[in-house]
């Protein structure tokens, strides 16, 4: 029973990180219909940026977060401007282009920094644990969970309460008409892509004390995050959050019942089945077909 | 026995009753026009018959077969063809290829595997002649003008050889001459095809319709010949307001 409780907690913290990654993906897909396969590499860049800030400037993971967000957002912004923007009319090709971009980023890091894994220290002030009975919760993981809740809430407020959010939703609904009313769709797209990339960067920073930082770390994560987006139902923030929790927890629990790898395989298979029977996700946006 | 029998047909979209208790028959060889204000449920009725939308209640019998729960392609195989409001031809395929796809009397995979992509034959040539595209067989459909695209789609429906053809605003965007020509083709079609046409152009309706059904708020408001409809008080109210 203790094991199960601790796994549920571990699953929750993994789900939180997955949620931040998936949120960025979902925003980018929802806004411009781009499947961003370079998203995993944005996570990786976030992790390396954190590592660089810690090794060279001595910044802690938490202090580095805003800087990492900005840095990765800028990378995303540039990529959107230079490459993705030219492919909006060809959705299937954006998959390919972003996949290629992912390879380039990965290889650039491998050549520039090296393929061996880097280690990032977690923040000292979050180093302890909270113990409730047999349940041991590390402060850092609790912090990650709360931060992800804040990010989701913040994003929701950004989408629903700000002028940018209103413009964004207008562009999603109908790009042509929005442009007639003076919304610069291109600018909205660039900023959205940058924001999504920045979120991936934050996820990368948060993940550093928990996982080892290597150039290929993003590949597995991007597949998981995509499944979260699809399972959650496109265009549904609640769905994305629920799916992240579900997948995080099921993975964690499966890994006690069987083992890590088989657990992951079972989850992937389960998701493929789920998509078969609910192709529009668990929480489809309710629109007339 | 009518070719198509629609009974108590209804569909609900998230609380909105788009079609609510429609009843009508269509006889073999008849041209039935559906009229009504925007949102009356005309296109939805066509969608329900061809299978684009699944009904939430009621029955549709086509040539003695209950079809309301069948998948689209099964209904197409029974002989129901559909022309959409937006011209939907395959822009990347040539005119001849479009026609070949439409000629689907044997839609099975085995037949497709053992047949060349395009067979030039008498039937295809006649159809292309009828719609004036005879010399454009090799042109990609994406390079056709708007009018030609409409013709191509009509040609495809003829090639498909459906017993019942559902047309959604076939003359939208056509010039007066083109509309006249379409009307003539429709009249000649009704020898072996039954047509249900959604149309706003009243002069066109006057020319082609054998019978008219006026819809309002998802239900049948009036039914009859053009003269009967024009004299109907309920129709006047629905169109002109109180």
């Amino acid at each position: 029973m203790d094991v199960v409780l601790n796994q549920i907690f571990a699953g929750l913290s993994f789900a939180s990180i997955l949620l931040i990654i998936a949120l960025g993906l979902a925003i980018i897909y929802g806004t411009m219909g781009v499947i961003n396969l370079a998203h995993g590499e944005f996570v990786m860049l976030g992790a390396y940026a954190t590592w660089a800030l810690q090794t060279h400037l001595g910044l802690g993971v938490v202090t580095a977060l805003p800087l990492v967000f900005l840095a990765v957002a800028v990378v995303g912004w540039v990529i959107e401007k230079v490459i993705v923007q030219r492919l909006y009319t060809r959705p299937l090709d954006t998959i390919l282009a972003t996949w290629g971009i992912g390879i380039i980023l990965q290889q650039a890091v491998r050549m520039g920094i090296g393929a061996e894994s880097k280690f990032v220290k977690g923040p000292e002030w979050l180093s302890g644990n909270i113990e409730i009975g047999a349940l041991v919760m590390s402060n850092y993981r609790i912090f990650v969970i709360f931060l992800s809740i804040m990010i989701v809430t913040g994003t929701w407020l950004l989408m629903t309460r700000t002028e940018f959010g209103m413009k964004l939703r207008a562009v999603i609904q109908n790009r042509g008409i929005s442009e007639c009313y003076g919304v610069e769709a291109k600018k909205v797209y660039s900023l959205t892509f940058a924001y999504g990339a920045g979120l991936a960067g934050i996820a990368g920073a948060l993940i550093t004390p928990l996982f080892s930082t290597i150039p290929t770390m993003g590949t597995g994560l991007v597949v998981d995050a995509f499944l979260v987006v699809i399972v959650g139902g496109l265009g549904s923030l609640v769905g994305t959050a629920a799916a992240a929790m579900l997948i995080g927890e099921v993975t964690a629990l499966f890994s006690i019942v069987i083992n890590d790898t088989l657990g992951r395989i079972a989850v992937l298979a389960g998701i493929i089945l789920l998509i078969r029977f609910r192709p529009r996700g668990l929480f489809p946006a309710d629109t007339r077909r | 026995m009518a070719q198509l029998e629609v009974r108590d047909l209804q569909v609900v979209f998230g609380g909105l009753r788009a079609v609510d208790g429609m009843n009508f028959d269509v006889e073999q060889g008849e041209i039935l026009c559906l009229l009504g204000p925007n949102g009356a449920g005309k296109s939805t009725t066509l969608d329900l018959i061809c299978g684009k939308t699944q009904p939430t209640g009621g029955s549709i019998r086509f040539r003695d077969t209950e079809i309301s729960q069948l998948l689209e392609f099964r209904r197409a195989r029974l002989g129901i063809g559909r022309k959409f409001q937006v011209p939907s031809v395959y822009k990347e395929l040539t005119v001849a290829e479009n026609l070949s796809v439409a000629r689907s009397s044997r839609p099975g995979i085995w037949h497709a595997l053992t047949t060349p992509a395009v067979r030039r034959n008498q039937k295809s040539r006649e159809i292309l002649d009828l719609v004036g595209l005879a010399d454009k067989g090799g042109v990609p459909a994406g390079n056709l003008s708007h009018g030609e695209t409409q013709w191509l789609e009509i040609a495809m429906l003829i090639a498909q050889g459906s017993h019942l053809i559902l047309m959604d605003e076939p003359t939208a965007g056509m010039t007066i001459q083109e509309t006249d020509r379409t009307a003539r083709i429709f009249r000649s079609l009704s020898a072996d095809h039954t047509l249900i046409v959604v149309e706003h152009d009243m002069s066109f309706v006057r020319t082609v319709a054998d019978r008219i059904i006026v819809m309002d708020q998802g239900a049948k408001l009036a039914e009859g010949t053009i003269a009967e409809i024009e004299a109907n008080e309920a129709v006047k109210t629905a169109y002109l307001g109180h």
């Binding site: 998509i275 | 559909r82 090799g138």
Partner: protein, 368 residues
């Protein structure tokens, strides 16, 4: 006979002549060079297989490497059993597997192996396809689901060490004996075996694309919904092309395992799957012939350049790929076709109207 078909036949003839006569003569029948080239030819098969599902039907299968890997493992399992004689394959002993697993037993038979290498990938491809296409999943979702399948499958193969040799794959294989002929992979005859398989696959692929089956698939690629109203069972068409594509990938995998003399889980990696997509895109996904040539060209370049730029090669490949997607979305094939059209138009010939399917970009309406 339309002119597109005649161009394809001429192209196939030229390609066949170069592969079967030109290349062996160029390398003066050198066994090692031809072995390397045979590797490229086997990869050309998996690339043209992807062109069938992706280029013709618009179904981007990012999991092509999984079915490729299945083929290679089928072949390697047979050869491993042959090499082990009456003993258990060595790695099974290291993993405390006591008896030959039931999964392995039928691979003692060559006939079974050859059939399994084609049919198991085809069946698996068909299963996934039925799942997806009955649910009317299309566009980017096909890409994501096949990618997820690939990741899961590779994990499974690595995890089941006792059955698959895990991370190391299957090594120490015997030579294949094909109806009394011992296949020496450094012999010219082996090169012709692979070349013959590629030519057969290409002829089959060209036949499919020029049949009404291929036409209906192109119609489905452009507008699946519309095609249903003509009475075509779209899911069946998509499933069959997925099956065929997976079966051909299995064939390529069998040959690849022969050439390299081992099977490895890296054949099923995401990066290998990406490589297949790159070859296909560079050559031109609309044409099976162009896709095959894309695989050969990129691998030739890799063979020459990766020695010079050991680290930089992957970077160059990534840049090349992004550039192709952005500026030559129809690959080398598209460039050649456009150039040909421009020439003929300048010549004032009317004939270009006969080859119109070259004209429009492929991507106007792939996803809905």
């Amino acid at each position: 006979m339309n002119s597109k078909l005649s161009y394809d036949i001429i192209g196939l003839g030229l390609f066949g002549a170069v592969i079967l006569f030109g290349v062996p003569a160029f390398f003066s029948y050198d066994g090692f060079e031809l072995n390397t080239f045979a590797r490229y030819l086997s990869l050309a098969i998996v690339s043209m297989a992807l062109a069938l599902s992706w280029g013709t039907a618009g179904l981007l299968n990012l999991g092509q490497a999984a079915t490729f890997g299945m083929g290679s493992y089928a072949m390697a399992m047979h050869l491993k059993l042959k090499a082990s004689g009456d003993n258990l394959p060595d790695f099974m002993g290291w993993n405390n597997v006591e008896a030959l697993p039931a999964l392995w037993v039928p691979f003692n038979s060559l006939t079974f192996t050859l059939l399994a290498g084609l049919l198991i990938p085809a069946a698996v491809g068909g299963l996934i396809a039925t799942f997806m296409f009955r649910a009317r999943i299309a566009g980017v979702f096909v890409a994501v689901i096949t990618l997820a399948f690939l990741v899961a499958f590779q994990l499974l193969v690595i995890e089941q060490q006792g059955f698959t040799g895990g991370q190391n794959g299957l090594t120490g294989l015997a030579q294949l004996e094909l109806f009394g002929w011992t296949v020496d992979i450094y012999a010219t005859s082996f090169y012709y075996l692979v070349g013959g398989c590629l030519m057969a696959a290409l002829i089959f692929g060209l036949y499919l694309t020029h049949s009404k089956f291929g036409l209906v698939l192109r119609a489905i690629r452009e507008d699946a919904e519309r095609t249903r109203y003509f009475g075509y069972n779209v899911a069946n068409y998509q499933t069959l092309i997925f099956c065929i594509s997976a079966g051909l990938a299995g064939l390529a995998g069998m040959l690849y395992a022969l050439v390299l003399e081992f099977a490895s889980p890296t054949y099923m990696s995401v990066s290998f799957s990406l490589a297949i997509v790159i070859w296909c895109a560079v050559g031109g996904r609309e044409s099976v012939l162009a896709a095959a040539m894309g695989a050969i060209l990129v691998n030739l370049a890799e063979g020459r350049l990766s020695d010079v730029f050991v680290e930089g090669w992957h970077m160059m490949l990534g840049v090349l790929f992004v550039a192709v997607v952005m500026f030559m979305p129809r690959g080398i094939y598209g460039v050649i076709v456009d150039a040909g059209r421009a020439l003929r138009r300048r010549g004032g010939s009317e004939e270009f109207a006969e080859t119109p399917s070259f004209d429009t970009p492929l991507n106007t309406k792939q996803e809905s």
